[in-house]
């Protein structure tokens, strides 16, 4: 059974291309890699003439106490997604195996 791996190849090339360009940009410039949200916030401050700190949440919200904790929460978010993905693809795979063996 010959499988066509064209799409896999394209994806790998795209990801690699992304990484290479990223590394090149990273090596040449002095980029902070702030979130675009942060850069956007600065732009708002620039346009309105108010400092970034003067914008406070309209509705009080819980803020992760540190960047460490924040990254944990983001990791949990991806983990939840990953578990669901693995489960469903495994489920489908099992279903397929069963129907083809019958």
């Amino acid at each position: 059974m010959i499988q066509n791996r064209k799409l896999e190849l394209i994806t790998v090339v795209a990801v690699l291309g992304f990484v290479i360009v990223f590394l090149a940009v990273n090596a040449t410039g002095s980029h902070g890699f702030n979130g675009s949200d942060e850069v956007g916030s600065q732009k708002v401050a620039e346009l309105t003439g108010h400092p970034v700190d003067s914008f406070t949440p309209l509705i009080p919200q819980w803020i992760p106490p540190s960047a460490e904790i924040e990254s944990t929460l983001f990791a949990i978010q991806t983990a939840i997604g990953g578990v669901i993905l693995g489960f469903v693809f495994g489920y489908w795979f099992g279903q397929k195996k069963q129907t083809s063996s019958r």
Binding site: M1, I2, Q3, N4, K6, L7, E8, I10, T11, A14, V15, F18, V21, F22, V25, N26, G29, H31, G32, F33, N34, G35, S36, D37, E38, V39, G40, S41, K43, V44, L47, T48, F55, T56, P57, L58, I59, Q61, W62, I63, P64, E70, L73, F74, A75, Q77, T78, I80, G81, G82, I84, L85, F87, V88, F89, W92, F93, Q95, K96, S100
Partner: protein, 237 residues
């Protein structure tokens, strides 16, 4: 960016978003009542929005941003159900991560969970009945949905903060330069990844794609043949 949108605009975007969410919940309930078989696919689509929107990737332009992952769900389930899944993800991020907030949730829903999917869906309808390869369709839809999300975000900010000279459009260009330029490489990568995922779904579970009438039997069969997958060894009823 809680607090960065004036409250008037928060209300406007909430009002725009709510009908979509309500329609989405209604659609979701009727679909679930009809057939539980869609639940796994819904899980996969939701999982991808969860994973991709949590990945804050440093982009080539020197700032970082996250993909949205809404394209897959848009193709499989349409705009309204995607809105609901997107809203859940945004709520999670607003409550636990202080990434966005309750007042700006409306605006975020309009850009990520509604506007992006709407644009993606338009592209999908345009390409659906043409001879374009279905994976290219998935790629285009995903990339467009991702990009349009940030176009809308820029527009929302521009409406709230028009520049003193040049007004809304000048502001829009400024915000667009921040968000969308960062987003273009990410959109391309995201499109490739979700097209690949779609390929695996087509390989393992083609009947569900067919049943949802996402693509026709012929299109799926053709994709399976050209991809040289197990299609040849299988007798289709």
């Amino acid at each position: 960016m809680e607090g960065f949108l004036p409250w008037q605009w928060c209300i406007v975007w909430w009002l725009v978003a709510v009908p979509f969410i309500v329609l989405g919940i209604i659609e979701l309930r009727s679909m679930m009542r009809k057939d539980r078989e869609y639940l796994p696919l819904l899980g996969v689509c939701g999982a991808f929005i969860f994973i991709l929107s949590a990945l804050k990737l440093p982009s080539v332009t020197g700032s970082s941003s996250h993909p949205t992952g809404t394209g897959l769900s848009t193709i499989c389930f349409g705009v309204f159900i995607t809105s609901v899944i997107g809203a859940i993800v945004l709520l999670f991020q607003a409550l636990l991560l202080a990434h966005g907030g309750i007042s700006t949730l409306g605006a975020n829903m309009v850009s990520m969970a509604i506007g992006g999917p709407l644009a993606g869906y338009a592209i999908y309808r345009l390409l659906k009945n043409t001879s374009v390869n279905i994976y290219i369709t998935v790629f285009t839809v995903t990339a467009v949905a991702d990009l349009i999300t940030y176009v809308i975000t820029s527009f929302q900010l521009a409406l709230a903060y028009p520049a003193q000279i040049g007004g809304v459009m000048t502001s829009f260009a400024a915000f667009f330069a921040i968000f969308a330029v960062t987003q273009i490489p990410l959109a391309i990568v995201e499109g490739c990844v979700l097209a690949l995922v779609f390929k695996y779904i087509v390989q393992i579970k083609p009947e569900i794609i067919e049943k949802l009438n996402v693509f026709s039997h012929e299109q799926i069969a053709k994709a399976r043949m050209t991809e040289g997958s197990v299609a040849s060894s299988e007798v289709r009823s």
